[in-house]
Symmetry: D5
Subunit: 96 residues, 10 copies
């Protein structure tokens, strides 16, 4: 099942640089693992903003929640979740 | 180049049913043609709302605009456009 | 799977009274049928407003969407959908 | 009498981890006690957010207020209270 | 029990003047009857706006809702309901 | 003359507890003195929120301002002021 | 006593032109009479918008309200009222 | 040329009192100097809020900007600027 | 002097097509005349929206206002005006 | 391709003055280099605010993003990006 998630990352400007880089590295590694598993189907960067639009393909609301809570950057995120479904006009067979 | 577009469709409730159906049919046909051309890469329905999130893959802002203006339902839409780019964490080679 | 839906009903004040009553009657009948099926688990009225909070228990985003689109009053509604999951503090075994 | 409450928890990211866990533990214990008493009738987690929708069944506005003020996490919450009543379409006899 | 209600009245500018006056007259009569009963404890006009702040003293959310729905002007109102309780600093014995 | 004031109190969660209690005590004492003088006519607590709706009966905008600025908790408040007048439907002779 | 009022005028685009001109003429005449009386102390046009900021000098909230309700364009206005007082830095003796 | 400026002052509650008083004193002195020069034509306090509405009479957008940037309290302000012009109904000859 | 203006055009969907085209044609002609005069320095279309960002170079707030009021499409516009000035980092000598 | 970007700069008031000046200097130098390259086509200051409207002329969303991320002041900015295109009424041949 598909979910659209907007994530706005707001890292305190006075946070220790090493900690920030470590957070980002672990976030990237986890994201890529979830992408390989097909859970995190799409992730795009919003031009000019430290934000992304992502499409998750998971079994349930629970699974989406667990994934979000597992993200190292989660505590520094504003999150907006929108449940999606296949659009009647869609011609793709991999968009549901 | 990728653009994220949110379209909220607000058709007047007192509009003639035949006209509405005709608008929807021509909208669907045009959308599917653009999808076949690869311009309209993704379209998802927001659960519970007469709205969609779409991802367009076009050459320029102009091309996106011309597409939007060509949609039969455009006059009945509230539109939000967000330019996207490939995310540094993305592992897909077809998401830029 | 659970979804929280807020529905604000905005019926045009100049709509024919009979049509309004008919819409409301068919809406009520459909809602009660869905409640009997266990799909529409809860529906509460917001004090002082022509709005409701509802909890749906359905298999997927698609099923939620189909239900919403089937509601006679849907064209006159503003809808907000929030996917839910069981809360780690919940002691009820029928709240997921 | 029923109240719908949205609670968004915003714990400072630089708070001591032990204190956070202690707050969460006492919050959970109190919540479960109130659920056992039937005061806190429902609590659901919003997918992807550190927030919940709850339904309280209490005698009065005062009782609701006292409960909210007693929550260990209250100082870190944004709260929205909406008084509810039985919906005329509801078929459940335990939803008022 | 006390409720604070803000009512913003938005009567269509092209509505027949007689109908408007009749609505206002019946609204006033009903309001005054409810005030005499002690249900509608306070009603104040917002300076410069066709709006009021009211304080209702009723037994329950249901009773508040029934009163609001009975108001002739209700279909032309935007309504905001806030449940109240006695303030710990209040010295009045008639403000709860 | 009457004014409706909404006060949302936002005390920093890391403020010294003794200072907070002292602020609250002096605030309460001042509020009660002003209530005795008839300046602060009503104060109600919003259920579930550290906020109040108050009705002030003062001679002028200046007097209202001076009172607000004198409140110990003022620096920690978000304030919304709405000038009121007697409502044409009001039957009370002490609501203006 | 001073009040700051923002008035946004929203005249339906399909209203009869003569009626519009007549409304505007009577509005202007009334405004100028009130200015001569010193009630309507200032009126400025917002550049690019069919709106004004006005400063009223009246005895009470009631008087402000009566003036606003007497304006021919009132039914077509969105109004925001803010009570003012002399600023401690003001050097003018005619700004309170 | 006239500009309407709203200034909301938000001084951190933990700022050193002497520094605050010094800032306020220099702000007042500068404001009064600009008023004497006729640049800062009006300044009013919003009742109940640490905010002001001001009317500036300056030669250009640049001059307004330079004045705002020169204010000691500027770093602690939220500012809203609206360009004004003489209103066609105004009877004053000193309001443009 | 420079002003940034956002114009969102909202033409009623049931307006007569000929009238719409005529409005658009006269709007375009007037806009181009003002551009030739150097008053309307820039006009850009927002991708996907029937809106524009424009930069006007005029002598005063008044002149900007008169231009806006002269636009045939003005009655169907939502307008936002922001006064600009040369940026200290700008290297262009034609951007003030 | 053109992009309209609004940048609101919010530097913490307690940041070390030297660091602030250094950030501003490097920001200015980078901005001017990008202007010389024709990437940063326009930059205007909003009168009274520490904000700018800029027009970028770049090849793609990616390039815009990289530029924004390279700005020393970026961590202290709130950014709004709007893709633009040539307006059909524009008479300039250098505004696309």
């Amino acid at each position: 099942m598909l979910y659209h998630v907007r994530m706005d990352v707001l890292i305190p400007t006075d946070m220790d640089a090493d900690k920030v880089n470590e957070l980002k590295a672990t976030e990237k590694a986890l994201s890529q693992k979830l992408q390989e598993q097909g859970k995190w189907r799409h992730i795009w960067r919003l031009a000019g903003e430290y934000s992304n639009f992502s499409i998750f393909d998971v079994e349930s609301n629970e699974e989406l929640h667990d994934i979000m809570m597992s993200l190292p950057l989660y505590p520094y995120m504003k999150v907006e979740v929108t449940p999606l479904l296949r659009h009647p006009s869609s011609i793709r067979d991999d968009d549901s």
